[in-house]
């Protein structure tokens, strides 16, 4: 069924329609929450909160076509709130080793997920949320900025710093001998 119809039905109190929408988004919500929070249980709590708010506040969604972006906003806000509550980081994102021997440019391949994992750990939840919203969930930068309640300028600045930090961390992890500037970091 068309998502717009489902949203309109859910907005009118149709729990089955909401279940279909939530089920379709669940995988990405869970993954995004784990990337932001780096903790499986906290991610679950954030998804719970996001879906609860989504159901409660769905009648207020003006444009059904914006449902996905709206839901991602709820998720990112719930994740940041969760991070602030917990104030501790337990890295539980599963890591699977990948052979990087065929790649001559560690920055170009980004094959070392362990490096990315450690690099993400070095960011604040707010910075991770912005990176996840923009790069993983595919929100435009203005959309991501609106989701996090920051100005577009602040989002650009924050993303610039976050990506620079990620790039440097990955370079140093994958090949400590490489100069950080190789990745074109700021």
């Amino acid at each position: 069924m068309d998502q717009r119809i489902l949203v309109e039905r859910a907005r009118g109190g149709d729990r089955d329609a909401f279940a279909v929408l939530a089920r379709a988004a669940a995988t990405r919500l869970d993954a995004a929450a784990r990337l932001i929070l780096l903790d499986r249980e906290h991610a679950r709590d954030a998804v719970q909160e996001a879906l609860t708010r989504a159901w409660r506040d769905l009648p207020g969604l003006r444009d059904p076509d914006r449902f996905d972006a709206w839901l991602y906003r709820l998720l990112s806000n719930a994740a940041i709130d969760e991070a602030r509550r917990r104030r501790r980081r337990v890295v539980e994102v599963e890591i699977t080793a990948i052979d990087v021997s065929d790649h001559d440019d560690p920055i170009a391949t980004f094959a070392d997920r362990d490096a990315l994992d450690r690099a993400l750990t070095g960011l604040s939840p707010e910075h991770r949320a912005l990176v996840v919203l923009h790069y993983y969930l595919g929100l435009s930068l203005p959309e991501a900025a609106a989701a996090l309640g920051i100005s577009l300028g602040a989002a650009k600045s924050r993303l610039h710093r976050a990506i620079g930090s990620l790039r440097r961390s990955i370079v140093e992890t994958v090949d400590p001998a490489l100069p950080a500037a190789r990745g074109g970091q700021p």
């Binding site: 729990r15 409660r56 790069y135 900025a145 309640g149």
Partner: protein, 432 residues
């Protein structure tokens, strides 16, 4: 493509690999808990009418009343506008009552926080707890004569939400229930008449909307059958009738008038204006002549002032330019000025809100900005305004919890260190 561009291109995929997306095994449990709560009524969402799209961050909720607080908000905002001149409080009076309308002296400012009721003296900053304890008390408002404070007490959340409307002296003494505990259900609005004799409530029982008026002296409840769903209402200053926002079968809203006994139903607003979506507060001026209201349509918010004596729109402050909105009126006690909020969109993700004050006859060019220009990244109402009882200053509150007091004579303003919860602040009127 350089390394930096490849990084940007591949980061999303890398993150997907890292997270290893999979359907969460906890989904069914999470979903069941999510849909177990009640949805907020659509009309309570400013984003439904606000001309700028993005809003997401939740409103702060009372810890003791998580999701229901919003429902309570309806009652309370009602009470806020309720213009409650409690005649029955004669025996309880501890001070000379203020006139119910017009100029009065400035008194205390009341608010609720964490389920307790506080008052703050805006001159000295002194904060007093007037109703505390384990009960969930919130959304205080003063009676129009300033002698009493009214608020909502949440008595029970499950299996049904039960509330009571409480009343006490302005200092918190002599606390009692004004309206006995009742099942709130889908409560849309409730308010006391200006003379304090009648209590009107609009709710939906088993999905059927209804409006009824309770005589507080006898307890008799009179149902008012209307072909329109009532969402919010204001008592007229003479207490003889209600002005209400109603929705027809196509969910189009308009403002109507009806006598307290259900007679003389008539529509006050033309649906053609702003496509008929009338939103936000619709205050009545202190002299009872004007009705201020906002309507949303064509992606903009418009402010209107209706002359209730002639049924004509005597003032229409048009939207100054594309991408701006004007609404949320408040009338001054001296019946000379109207305050409202001007919204604009400086960027695609931010909204600027500015309180304005102009003449009550509605000349838009004569309106002047008052107080700070506030940027709100995620919008609800943004700002709300109310005149001081003596009409010399404007109290401006933001949804972010900031409060300012602007002097209307000098144009200066300063922040007030007032606790602000999700409900509007109530300013006590005192005898001049």
């Amino acid at each position: 493509m350089n390394a930096s561009e490849r990084f940007d291109r591949d980061l999303g995929d890398m993150m997907a690999e890292l997270a290893q997306p999979r359907f969460p095994d906890y989904f069914d449990e999470v979903l069941e808990r999510a849909v177990a709560i009640r949805q907020r009524p659509a009309w309570t969402f400013p984003e439904r009418w606000f001309p700028m799209g993005a809003l997401t961050r939740r409103l702060p909720l009372l810890p003791a009343l998580p999701a229901r607080a919003i429902g309570m908000l309806l009652i309370l905002l009602l009470l806020l506008t309720a213009t409650v001149a409690i005649g029955v409080g004669a025996l309880l009076l501890q001070q000379r009552p203020a006139p119910p309308f017009g100029l009065a002296a400035n008194g205390l400012i009341a608010n609720s926080q964490d389920g307790d009721i506080y008052t703050t003296d805006p001159r000295t900053g002194e904060v007093r707890l007037i109703v505390g304890g384990p009960t969930a008390d919130f959304a205080p408002t003063f009676s129009r004569d300033g002698t009493h404070v009214l608020f909502i007490r949440g008595l029970q959340l499950e299996p049904q939400e039960v509330i009571a409307v409480m009343i006490a002296d302005a200092n918190g003494a002599n606390l009692r229930a004004l309206v006995e505990p009742e099942v709130a259900g889908e409560l849309h609005w409730s308010a006391l008449s200006p003379d304090g004799r009648l209590y009107a409530v609009a709710n939906s029982a088993e999905g059927v909307p209804r409006l009824s008026v309770v005589d507080l002296a006898t307890g008799a409840r009179t149902p008012i059958d209307l072909p329109i769903t009532v969402t919010e209402f204001e008592w007229t200053n003479d207490g003889r009738g209600l002005i209400f926002r109603g929705e027809d079968e196509s969910s189009r809203s308009a403002l109507y008038y009806v006598d307290a006994d259900g007679a003389d139903l008539r529509r006050l607003t033309d649906r053609a204006i702003g496509e008929g979506q009338f939103i936000g507060p619709f205050p009545i001026s202190h002299d009872g002549r004007y009705l201020g209201y906002s309507s949303f349509g064509g992606n903009a918010l418009y402010l209107h002032v209706l002359n209730l004596e002639t049924d004509e729109v005597t003032a229409w402050l048009p939207v100054p330019s594309e991408g701006m909105a004007t609404g949320w009126p408040a009338f001054s006690p001296d019946n000379e000025r109207i305050a409202f909020i001007n919204y604009s969109l400086p960027t695609s993700v931010e909204i600027s809100a500015q309180a304005m004050v102009g003449p009550i006859d509605g000349s838009p060019t004569a309106a002047q900005p008052v107080g700070p220009l506030v940027r709100i990244p995620q919008s609800t109402r943004g700002l709300t305004v109310q005149f001081s009882p003596d009409a010399t200053s404007l109290l401006i509150t933001s949804d972010a919890g900031e409060v300012w007091l602007a002097d209307l004579e000098s144009g200066t303003y300063e922040p007030l260190d007032l606790p602000k919860d999700e409900f509007d602040l109530a300013w006590q009127r005192r005898a001049p």
